[in-house]
Symmetry: C3
Subunit: 676 residues, 3 copies
């Protein structure tokens, strides 16, 4: 059982609020006072301010205008609001781009970009780092004792990459640090291939469509370097803040499975992880899948932050404006969205955006307050209801899930898989969808799960699932072996254990260092096109196989549990079990549907001695548990617009103490929070 | 009733002819004499010459060769042909690009283009304007008294845009003129968003994929500026022509719904509007839709020219060469295509092209005379039949439609909608298709209609339809209010009245300044994906809704005529009626199919006291009326390859005087021209 | 009957082996000895070495390291292996790109590329040619007397293009040579169109998306020039090799229907043609089509090499890594793939690759030896079986097919057709698929066929088929006329005889110079969209028409054999026969399905007095015959995973002499080699 301190200084409640841009209303300041009234009316206690406000704070180089922010902070304090105060680096002012072109990014085609968009600064530019340091220092000094200051929000949705000469040099320095000699780099990247040996580090260029895109070693290094640059940039931003306000936590808002940064690395630098959650709710039965994906992302973002309480820094009070189809949300979805975050460990429910601007590209993005500037909208009323509910579940604050199952999602493995050429090309070979499918199967069975990467600690778990661990990072296979030997149940799949951390194939038979634990030799892997299927039968039921089917050979006493029905490898094993030490290792050699995954994980969890939080929940109902000093809380969520009947555990009570157990019929999108 | 003078000097007949490039046959001049004979044989009386002929007229800088054009003009005069004489600026000669690179365009990526294609000159280049002025002056001086000169054709299919430094400067000057101060521009473009405030006008750059694409204010201004540049360029071209030959009309050929220029602005500069009509006839029943779109475009092009007779400057005598599928046209389609233009107010039927070249990218484009160089082709025979028919309907020349219904199609609204992010993203949210759908419903009912933009005069009409008027341009809402108050019937839809001319949202509730007239408050708008539908019942019939559904609240005594059946807003109004003053305003709150639009406009037209030109025409038959000194002419067109029976009005007679009334069976693609 | 000498010096056996990169294992040389053992175990007798090895041979400018290659060559000789020794120009070393940027290509956008990929050198660069000459000379001098040297492999998969200033100049020189004067070029390219006349050769720029893409004359010239550059580059590479080792044959590996080079031109420079064969076997019934395409490509590659024995230089022992879907190959497919090559005239079966590298983008490409480094894989076992079979069929070595049917596939016609705008735009109008469809119809009937281009000699044939010969190259029509007059049967189709070699339309009626032989005038061509069909009946059977339908008029006594059923040209001929001299010319005026093509070619072959190799083979079974000093060999191939029963001719015997005739049931993928 773990109880964590509040994430925000001076606030012992679920954070409730959202992004707020008073700087867009400097010409119409009466709006500010209306904002305070509307925020309070909705139960809001925090607002994120200053994001993208650099041009308002420093309209000309060295000319600072904090007076409007002073006024906003004072107003917030006077109204009992806490500020998530942002550093303004998410978008630079135009004067800086004009005067110091080096702050502008260079794209893969080696073109220096013009001013525009956001998230567009060079990651290496000394000028930009200096300017950021200066304004962050001023912000910290000015507001360090302000009663409204509750947390730092560094930049915004860090992402992208830069290929300018400064970044090329930084890349080469990073490579030198990692590989020592160019000979070693050439060996690790297998540069004998196509005469690609570099004569020196100076010859290395970042990947480019007009240069090299096909060197897997280069691509992998570039992604690792970009992650390192973001970590370094984040640290440079945070330095004055941590120095001047050591008691205020820092974070930056992540974007779930964003491909460009290894969040498990960046996460190490955050005091608390936070993320922007934008499920594309459909208001129909497909919301079961929408919710399953959101649940996976919550667990991933919590994992990135070390499995402590995290923050849902952004979410939308109704349709966003950037999905292909932006449906309004049926009543109840907003409550589900907010409580689902809490259920998975968030200590905040925050929206983008509090008030919609009159212009700009996000003017029609969902907002608590729209252009009609009124509390008489449907959305405002639902926002207020969520606010009220958050106060009711306050005892759960600071508690955390305690899961005994972990699913592995590893950014470096993902990058390598996406680059790898075999089987089914195009896209990332379904890695993300596959990990999600395994995680979703657990959800459907009523289990909670953590999401970790290959560097994660396996010791807290009884069941660990590593789908498509194509790349085995250093030490991982050894830790899996120890985990199984010590009594754990490990599940591996096709396309696992093919390459080492430099994307060099293991010699001597896949799955390489996992071979002994897995108890199989993976000889070759078939790829099926959209019209082709294979099948297998296990425990009397027949399942379909698509996409990938590996031909594996059991070794060292591993047992074959099921075999292929079709193709030239009919009769070869598709599911094996290897008992090793106190534990078991299963191999799923082909890609199956969710029907098999659910049946298999019911079995595997039972082998691991685990029981679900709720027995046999109907489709669309998921559960989590948070445990802390306030007690143990079971969240039961109906994620579809149909009623669903569940059997509640005994000794459960609603947040107001009303006891509740046995059969219960959940209304559409209803969420129960049960004190156990 | 209006009668207009002939569009061409010295020709009181429907213009019949096409684009003609004798300059491609300078090495084989015997072709010219064959051309004259073939043209006369087909009833042709006009040829458009000189388009793209700059390199033939001025092969080296300052070295002019008009002698071949003299010869062609003389030959035309001798054969009774009139010339639509073109300025050659549609394509510049290569020597000019070599010597003066500034005449070459710079694309959005900021690359100076190489010589190539056509329509490719910078819109600002002083050199290019000077060169054009010089050659236009020489042309006007040389042919001002030539008997063949009938009209000026300025450049060709103006379009595209240029991002060179000269254009950037012109853009900044235009912005300064429009906004006065950079502070005002920043306010109007809501540049507080993402720190986008410009320190000065000098900092503004046109939209670019490597810079800013997401600033709606910038994008809108750039499109308005580009239109202004084309108007200015057109005027600069026309200046010597109008000065030297004040009795010869000028035009340029437009491209129906081309997105890049606000044709209602450019149209103000034309003496007569003209356009290039390329329907993709399918020779099957789908031609009903093909014809409906062509009819809409004719009405639009007529509207752009002030609802006077216009010209169909280009059309193809058979399949074009640039559609994805280029079907031959079944016999009769060519007659339909030509007479449909006349029916909608064209005083010309012109082809691209008279003779196909042996080489070049348009050598297989439909032509009156093909490579076989003979009058014994099917196409030639059909061309000759159309020529004969045009002489038979000569009394209709100079007459014009007198419609009491107007549909609004507004370029600036379209631009803003395409940029706007909400609901369904991608494309232009179906704006063009939606306006067409409303117009087509009127066609199917037997009504003629004008197409105007929000700046158009509403007073001639009894029924005005404004689909998706997302942007309300200045004064429009006030004129709608006066129109309704004075007894008009106005129809508005979902996604109307959201932003002002700068794309800033109206505060205080949509549809902003239209709210009182419409009698509703538009709270929120749902978007349905391809699998989702809603429904409603009106007057006993149930209709389907797709794409967009607004949740609106009736106010000020507006009546709900129909309500949603499904979704959380079931029971909310989908069709309302608001009586105001002497008139009525209807709101269609969701996107429906054509079944509803037809039923509704039958009702709404009746509310406006209007009767169709033909009662209940069968599917595929459409009608128009032209009225002038020559009388009143009813055009009845069968646009499908099946027979169709109609009930003709009494007192109708064929063009030869044969009386014709009551039931009549139209042959496939048959067109009747009835004197009333 | 023809018997050809062995392609490889010192080896009188089918070449069996593949690409081998010992240079990737310089750090792990024990692998080399294992390679020799594994190769021998699989019956391998040749390895292609040195491809892409430049950086290993010359790691720094002028510093050569042949010692490792010496060692490899010695090892091969010691183990009885022959080397296909490659020049290393397929990929340049990075030091060369750094020091001499001119060796880097410039793309169509006029960007100088960075170092990366392969096949990426400028085709004109004097520096590159000099460097290549130097290293080729050194290789030839060093290994001229080495017992392992069997053949030269020049560069690798030549392709792409370069737009640098050097190439622009070379292009202009080439144009000057071809056209003499700029006036002539302007006339041939029809540059009067759109004012495109060039003032001088210096003004010509290669095609570019930021310049000219629509000038058909320019595009065609650019492609012809690029072919000429590749021929010149190849000759420059070959010069020292041929000089120093005149007894060793040179080749370069082609890529079947690769669009960028006219292989019939390049083929003239090769001592023996060789190609890389990568069918996307599906392991299901669709393999019948996969095999049909492979057969067509074999025949084409043989034709490119002058219809002598050729080489299958690359093929994959199992799934490749770059198809969209990479299926494992069912047992038997590898044997089929290898023997199919032999059946069509290959004297080699070679793989890419012998051993998979640990890194690089091709590490998962099919290989004889995989990362498990063992002979105990399924693939290795099948490779060994193929090796054994090749020794059994050794008597067929050096023999060649003797076909009496030719199908025309012409690169220049293909380029012109792809550029032409008419009918169905997008893609190449189905040219390649159409030629394949005609060729496949012959395969299904049991005929063997040659593939030639319009410059090919027609005299060896009795039936010649020219599908869609849009462009008639000089002399072709005359040779067709003589062929028919002399008793041949010629088949032409829609879209034939429209333009001359400069893409200028024939005047006086299509098919231009073929008109008299064909006996028809082709007036106009309809294009049908995906939903539209026409039909016709011939010999009591009704067939479907799609895509293209020409309206033709029989002349000069031609007979109409079948007519259109639908559209306005119902009743017009769709199939005609024209008897001229001793022969016949057929016109197929529309695109049909394979059902008609098979029925028609059964008839046409009979008209030409030809009998199939096998009577009425079942679907999926194809045949070829090779004849030489060793006798006559009939190859009967079952290309599907189902059994198929055929009736073998009398007097046939298996390779071991076992007589075999009458009904025989082929196992899945079984190939018979019958001595006749």
């Amino acid at each position: 059982m773990a109880q964590f301190p509040p994430v925000m200084k001076g606030l012992s409640a679920f954070l409730y609020g959202g992004d707020y841009n008073p700087d867009q209303w400097l010409h119409q300041k009466e709006i500010w006072r209306q904002d305070m009234a509307l925020a309070k009316g909705a139960g809001i206690n925090t607002l994120s301010v200053g994001i993208f406000a650099w041009a308002a704070l420093e309209p000309r180089e060295g000319e600072y205008h904090f007076e409007w922010l002073d006024e906003v902070m004072d107003l917030m304090a006077a109204n009992g609001m806490k500020a998530v105060l942002a550093t303004p680096s998410g978008a630079r002012p135009m004067w800086m781009a004009e005067k110091y072109p080096e702050v502008l990014r260079v794209n893969r085609m080696r073109q220096r970009e013009l001013f525009g968009g956001r998230h567009n600064h060079c990651l290496s530019s000394p000028v930009y780092r200096e300017k950021v340091k200066r304004i962050n220092t001023l912000l910290a000094q000015r507001y360090k004792d302000h009663p409204a200051l509750g947390m730092w929000h560094i930049s915004n949705e860090l992402g992208g990459e830069c290929h300018c000469p400064l970044c090329q040099q930084a890349f080469r320095d990073w490579l030198k640090e990692r590989y020592g000699t160019i000979e070693n780099l050439n060996a690790q990247w297998w540069n004998g291939f196509w005469s690609h040996a570099y004569p020196s580090f100076d010859a290395v260029e970042s990947p480019s469509p007009i240069g090299e895109m096909g060197s897997h070693g280069l691509n992998l290094a570039w992604r690792r370097f970009t992650t390192a640059q973001f970590c370094s940039f984040y640290e440079a931003e945070a330095e004055p803040l941590k120095r001047i306000t050591p008691d205020v936590k820092c974070t930056t808002n992540l974007m779930s499975t964003y491909d460009g940064i290894n969040y498990f690395e960046l996460g190490k630098h955050l005091d608390v992880s936070s993320w922007d959650n934008y499920p594309a709710w459909t208001s129909d039965r497909r919301d079961a899948q929408v919710a399953a994906r959101a649940a996976f992302c919550h667990d991933l973002m919590r994992g990135v932050g070390g499995n402590k309480p995290f923050m849902m820094m952004e979410s939308s009070p109704t349709a966003v404006n950037w999905h292909a189809v932006n449906r309004l949300r049926a009543p109840g979805i907003l409550m589900l969205q907010g409580l689902q975050a809490v259920a998975h460990g968030s200590d905040s429910v925050q929206y983008f955006q509090f008030r919609a601007g009159r212009g700009g590209s996000e003017k029609f993005h969902g907002a608590v307050v729209t252009h009609v500037n009124s509390d008489r909208t449907r959305v405002y009323r639902e926002v207020a209801q969520v606010g009220e509910r958050l106060r009711a579940v306050a005892p759960a604050l600071g508690s955390a899930p305690e899961n005994r199952i972990a699913v592995i999602f590893d950014w470096e493995n993902r990058w390598a898989l996406a680059d790898a050429q075999f089987g089914l090309n195009g896209g990332d070979k379904g890695y993300e969808e596959t990990v999600l499918a395994h995680h979703e199967a657990l959800q459907r069975l009523g289990f909670g799960a953590d999401v970790i990467d290959e560097n994660g600690d396996l010791t807290p778990y009884r069941l660990v699932i590593g789908p498509m661990t194509y790349m085995l990072r250093p030490g991982f296979a050894e830790r899996v072996r120890a985990f199984v030997a010590g009594g754990g149940v490990y599940v591996t799949t096709y396309c696992s254990g093919w390459v080492n951390e430099e994307d060099l194939c293991f010699q001597g038979g896949f799955p390489g260092p996992l071979r002994e634990t897995a108890g199989i030799w993976d000889e070759e892997t078939d790829a099926l096109d959209e019209t082709q299927r294979n099948h297998f039968t296990w425990q009397g039921k027949t399942y379909e196989i698509r996409d990938f089917a590996a031909v594996v050979h059991p070794e060292n006493g591993a047992k074959t549990l099921a075999t292929y029905r079709d193709a030239f490898y009919a009769g070869a094993p598709v599911l094996t079990e290897h008992a090793m030490g106190q534990g078991l290792c299963y191999v799923i050699a082909a890609r199956t549907g969710s029907d098999f995954l659910q049946d298999f994980y019911r079995f595997a969890a039972s082998q691991a001695g685990l029981r679900p939080l709720l027995e046999a929940p109907p489709y669309g109902v998921t559960c989590t548990r948070r445990v802390g000093d306030g007690g143990s809380f079971l969240f039961v969520m109906n994620t579809v617009p149909q009623q669903n009947t569940v059997t509640l555990p005994p000794c459960a009570a609603l947040e107001d103490g009303t006891p509740l157990a046995g059969p219960y019929t959940l209304a559409p999108y209803e969420v129960l929070v049960l004190k156990e």
